[in-house]
Homo-oligomer: 313 residues x 2
């Protein structure tokens, strides 16, 4: 393997001059540049990224923690992150957590060991306080409102939009609202916000029989439909946690020749556009790119992206 020293020797210049032409930095005479470039080409030489990283103390790698790859939420945030990363010349490492706290800790340790320059938690099982402890080792960004925990964040303003959406639901006269969530509201900040908005609008907690947890995919939505149909308490409206999921729900009723209850989705994906049902656009791609920006800025910023209730009825 040929290295920068070989190029220096063969071209008759020093390593620093070679480094300069490699990085197009500082002055190098045309003569030197030409000769060095000739040798580089002849030897088919490229610099070693790892050595460069070590020397600069920077890897241009960003770690992204995802619980899983299938839910629309993560897909969209990830796409936002990746688009921005590509623009800025960074690489993205996917770190699958499954909400496993030990894995999350492992990723934090890797940040500490400088395996990447920053870490973005699209969601997390570990308490934010625990995560924040690692801030002294490197930049960390979370994708939710950190409230009183001091940690950089990029997130979407959920509650106010949930309130708007649920107020509309209430105005329509619906009373028994089925709620589908990713995780139980005791552990999920997003679910907690949903419940909070519900309480604010309806003045009471939702009926626990009408809350379905662990719903993340189209198929889960379908299964939720089955659950509701067999449930003693039937919803007169369903507040789904994504358009895909809402579509799965709807499908269950259709497949069984049942009346589909009115419902709304989230994420403003194609299904709600095609089928024309109401939804919430959380602007997750923007959240992703904002999270990335915060990550590379290294600053202790908090960015809130407004979301929109899209009323299609």
């Amino acid at each position: 393997m040929t290295n920068i020293h070989d190029i220096a020797k063969l071209s008759g210049f020093s390593v620093s001059t070679v480094s300069r032409v490699l990085n197009r930095k500082n002055y190098v005479s045309d003569d030197a540049r030409e000769k060095i470039e000739a040798v580089i080409k002849q030897m088919d030489y490229v610099p070693n990224d790892v050595a460069r990283d070590l020397s600069r103390g920077k890897t241009y790698n960003i770690g992204v923690v995802l619980p899983y790859t299938k839910h629309a939420y993560f897909n969209q945030v990830l796409n936002g992150i990746m688009a921005e990363a590509y623009k800025q010349g960074y690489r993205v490492l996917i770190l699958l957590s499954n909400y496993d706290k030990n894995k999350e800790l492992e990723f934090l340790e890797q940040l500490r060991r400088k395996a990447f320059d920053a870490l973005i938690f699209t969601s997390h099982g570990l308490p934010l306080e625990e995560i924040a402890k690692y801030l002294k080792y490197g930049q960390i960004v979370c994708c939710q409102n950190p409230n009183n925990v001091k940690i950089p964040a990029a997130y979407t303003a959920r509650v106010s939009t949930y309130v708007k959406a649920l107020s509309w639901v209430k105005e329509q006269g619906y009373k028994k609202i089925g709620i589908m969530q990713n995780r139980d509201y005791h552990v999920s900040a997003t679910s907690e916000k949903t419940i909070r908005a519900y309480k604010q609008v309806f003045g009471e907690m939702p009926d626990s029989k009408l809350i379905v947890n662990d719903v993340t995919t189209y198929d889960n939505g379908y299964q939720a439909g089955e659950y509701y149909n067999k449930c003693s308490e039937k919803p007169d409206f369903v507040f789904a946690n994504s358009d895909d999921i809402a579509t799965g729900l709807r499908q269950y009723y259709l497949d069984n020749q049942l009346q589909v209850p009115p419902f709304m989705g989230q994420e403003n994906q194609l299904p709600s556009q095609i089928l024309k049902f109401s939804t919430i656009d959380h602007q997750l791609t923007k959240v992703g790119s904002a999270a990335f920006d915060v990550a590379t800025s290294g600053e202790d910023k908090i960015v809130c992206i407004p979301s929109k209730f899209i009323n299609r009825k």
Copy 2:
């Protein structure tokens, strides 16, 4: 930032002894180990991964090239890769290509610069021959049958299963087979195999009006339904390229109170299980983990994973 030298100095041992306790390698006296571990703990020290990588000439990073993140195919292969990577202590870098040849070349260059130990192409725009040229710089694995190109691969045996599936379709008496594909068969090896199997079974090329390209999502499937419905030539059976996509297709007909044509899917996802339609299980998760194994083995292996036609009618 404290480093291995600091630990050596503070503990009174040499860096090599410290390195030994860090790596639990070779003999270290209990006394030395205890003292060194005490200092490590006290100083809150962890080794630097980049330095370690440089020294060892290995990063434990694997690059995975994906055209995009939404199609089921990539999701499944990726999950297989990640599961195996996690087991073996590797990290996964996502490299989005969009089938852009320049980006793919860029990724190959990064391999050459040792940014990762190996590169897996789940699919590619560049000709395989071009990709194979980079094998001298590092391990590369592709996820299709490389035929006469000499390059490591892990892929699913498609043609024989396509033939089985299409033969069954033919036996049922269907004649106008709608075919949905990811990309045109002139550029996609997978689509080409579909067409080849079709020719083998039906003895002629499929009607080009019945082939829809650029179908990768549920929504595209829905749109394809619209296309077929407005097409002068209507399919009496549709061979979809995933279960999700088939479901989108079906949905179009249902939403418009039209008779859903018989169809089959691919990937054996939940929709085909729930709705009980035929499908093909390409065992993509296995392809992913096999691809990963080939990547880390460094050998010029070719692994073919058998796929299965699942007849549910």
